[in-house]
Symmetry: C2
Subunit: 445 residues, 2 copies
């Protein structure tokens, strides 16, 4: 039996072996680079990769370990970064010709935190244009004729293809949960403001979240522990005690969780196979799941999201619009055109309507339920590379800033993965992962 | 020689006498009510006053004092409240027919804080319509043919007329500093976010400030100490240690302050007498004052302010606009019409431009100066009651959220007071009052 390549290890296992001296960071990174060498021609997940620089970071990590210095929880573990996350040592081009050659001076706050935890920044992964809809070159690792989803296309595909165990992306609508589902991995969008966004391309202060990708729930917990933090440059973060993601995830829930299945007004977008799979999943959960209807205030969420996202992107891309809108894709240009017409009063009233939507779910969680169960996407990754698929099943939770995780628990007849989305209460991120683990075990039983 | 009526005492002196058992709160409130009885027919500062309820609060304070219970720094001292500040025990009608009969269930956060410090809420003072420009019934105590200024018209006039030693108002453009100057008293707009606005009529989250009125700097310090605070309902406040306003004010500045005289682009609005007075004031300060030019980013402040105020008011008065705009004054209706046309992107870009304006002044303070000296208004209170005067000399400091105080240090040939505005660095509120005291002493020497 051939030994499993190090690149196929989970981050948790790789970090353990490095800590115990059974594996070096250099071996791990070398294994990841070899896997990239094999899979990248088909998957095209990376937009910047300097192998020598990645190996130099790994060797420095190994050197530190050998010196006996204290090491962090991600020591020696490589991470892929969506190319909208600034790095002081690599370019960050935001998926647009307008930012070609952009070389930021500073690391994004979350990158600095991961480096402090010992992680190696492997390279930059493909994003759609400005993290909006126009796709990059990446293909779905399960079938190159299908989209990997977006906008964090490269991060999801790279993790799915065993090129890197962990990656960061972002989500302003469905940019983490959807590609995680399409690529058959674990995606996690923590509560709004839990992970600082300083040094990332800003689309919308209200809606932007950092997203995490991994191949297990343990790995999401490991990554989230170092990614969560406060930064002065992100006014939606706040100083808070460390969240013990891994400890909470390792606990049994004190009582069996109760889940609320929410179909949302977009349920009819589900293909027949997905509907069938959801019906089976609900049967499998028996009395632990109940269907819950959305109240009328929640039904406005999609319109509120469209108003807020377009208006805030219009302001954030004002310079690009004035200087080079002819170099934008038509969808981005059209979005910014719409956004520039949004009235300030309508934008402010949309912002003000969010708490009433959130209150629906806070009530649900206080009343009876531990988490919400809902599709991550209407079905598996659609065929074709011109579109990254439909984010409609993510919009509501992004608007509310609620933590959401996509679990690769379903599969289509064509063999493509489908995601189950589990959504938790704002600020109860670790509990959400624990509920997700319970769900996973329950369904595999 | 007739004894000075208690109503004429400063709050500091009245509080001291009450604490030492030389005066009761009931005597003080009774004296204020008598002065109101004399002056109110001409000044018209109050929109709601229930004498029995005010006296009942005073007697309760006296009872508490007699019981030996601990008492707060404002124990037994009456305060007037602008009628946009919610009170659970009195109506709050916001100066508009649309809110006639409005009886809030809760005290505003700042009212709750003042009650906790022992203060008696004497009654509600006249505001312009929705704290914008359309005047209420109040007249200038120095000359009833002149405006008291606005929008905190009644609070400024009541304090000036010895009806109450302390009052609260608000400032979104020039609504505290201008009426304080026109009425010849001390007005103080602390740093944005220092005093919580929860439970007050919201015009603009970005621009709204609580304003303080008194007849001495000591009284402003006394009031500010209890007014400053954090409230969960005001996202621009934050938990922080108590600011020792009175202790700082009692100190000598360690070195003689250096002041920056800033004329602003509106200097030509000054009448000849005011220009003459400013020239004398600068002479009196000698080498302690230097004229400083505004940079180009500061010159945009007035446009930024207009965009932000109109857009945010359009959102905040959306319901009133839809339900009853025909009952609004023409100026308010026209403002809201303009505000409803502001684009979200322009509003957001205006918000984003504020830090660059603030940075001008932070540089000034780091470099050389302790405070900025500038007019509070173009001259004394204009004749007539149709307008509350021009806020142009306040706009810049309101936009920047910088602390500002108006001192009654000048007088026109017609005997009307004129205000000297002293502006400090954000967050250095107590230091600003100390510099203002130094200035007062220097000019009277």
């Amino acid at each position: 039996m051939a030994a499993e390549p190090a690149a196929a290890l989970t981050a948790t296992e790789a970090a353990r072996r490095i800590r115990e001296g059974l594996l070096t960071s250099e071996e791990l990174v070398q294994s990841c680079l070899e896997q990239i060498g094999r899979a990248e021609p088909q998957v095209k997940a990376w937009t910047f990769l300097d192998e020598a620089h990645a190996l130099a970071q790994a060797r420095a990590a190994d050197e530190r370990k050998r010196s006996g210095a204290e090491i962090g929880p991600l020591h020696g573990v490589p991470v892929g970064l969506k190319d909208i996350i600034d790095t002081a040592d690599m370019p960050t081009e935001n998926g647009t010709a307008l930012h070609k050659g952009r070389a930021p001076r500073n690391d994004a706050a979350v990158v600095a935190q991961l480096r402090a935890a010992g992680a190696v920044m492997l390279g930059k992964t493909v994003t759609t244009e400005c993290a909006y809809f126009h796709p990059g070159k990446t293909r779905n690792p399960w079938n190159p004729a299908h989209t990997p989803g977006g906008s964090s296309s490269g991060s999801a595909a790279a993790v799915a293809a065993n090129m890197v165990p962990l990656a960061l992306g972002s989500q302003t609508n469905g940019s983490t949960i959807r590609p995680a589902a399409f690529c058959g991995i674990y995606g996690f969008k923590p509560t709004h403001g839990l992970v600082p966004r300083t040094g990332m391309l800003q689309l919308s202060r209200t809606l932007d979240h950092v997203g995490l990708f991994a191949r297990s729930l343990d790995d999401l917990a490991l990554l989230a522990e170092s990614a969560a933090g406060w930064h002065d440059g992100d006014p939606d973060t706040r100083p808070r005690a460390r969240i013990p993601f891994r400890e909470v995830l390792a606990e049994e829930p004190p009582v069996a969780p109760m889940l609320a299945l929410i179909r949302t007004p977009h349920w009819d977008k589900l293909d027949d196979e997905a509907k069938e799979a959801w019906s089976e999943l609900a049967d499998g959960l028996g009395e632990r799941v109940e269907e819950v209807e959305l109240g009328p205030s929640a039904a406005r969420a999609w319109d509120l999201h469209a108003t807020i996202m377009s208006a805030e992107m219009a302001a954030n891309f004002d310079r690009e619009w004035r200087a080079g809108r002819e170099r934008m894709s038509a969808p981005l240009r059209e979005l910014l055109e719409r956004g520039r017409e949004v009235r300030a009063a309508d934008h402010l009233l949309a912002l003000r309507a969010i708490p009433a939507v959130v209150e629906n779910f806070d009530f649900l969680f206080r009343d009876r339920y531990d988490a919400i169960l809902t599709p991550a996407a209407p079905g598996p990754a659609p065929k074709g590379l011109k579109s990254t698929g439909d984010p409609a099943f993510c919009t509501l939770w992004t608007l509310c800033g609620m933590p959401a995780v996509s679990l690769p628990l379903m599969r289509s007849s064509s063999g493509l993965p489908m995601g189950v989305q589990v959504v938790g209460r704002r600020g109860f991120d670790a509990r959400l992962l624990r509920t997700a683990r319970w769900l996973e075990a329950k369904l595999s039983a």
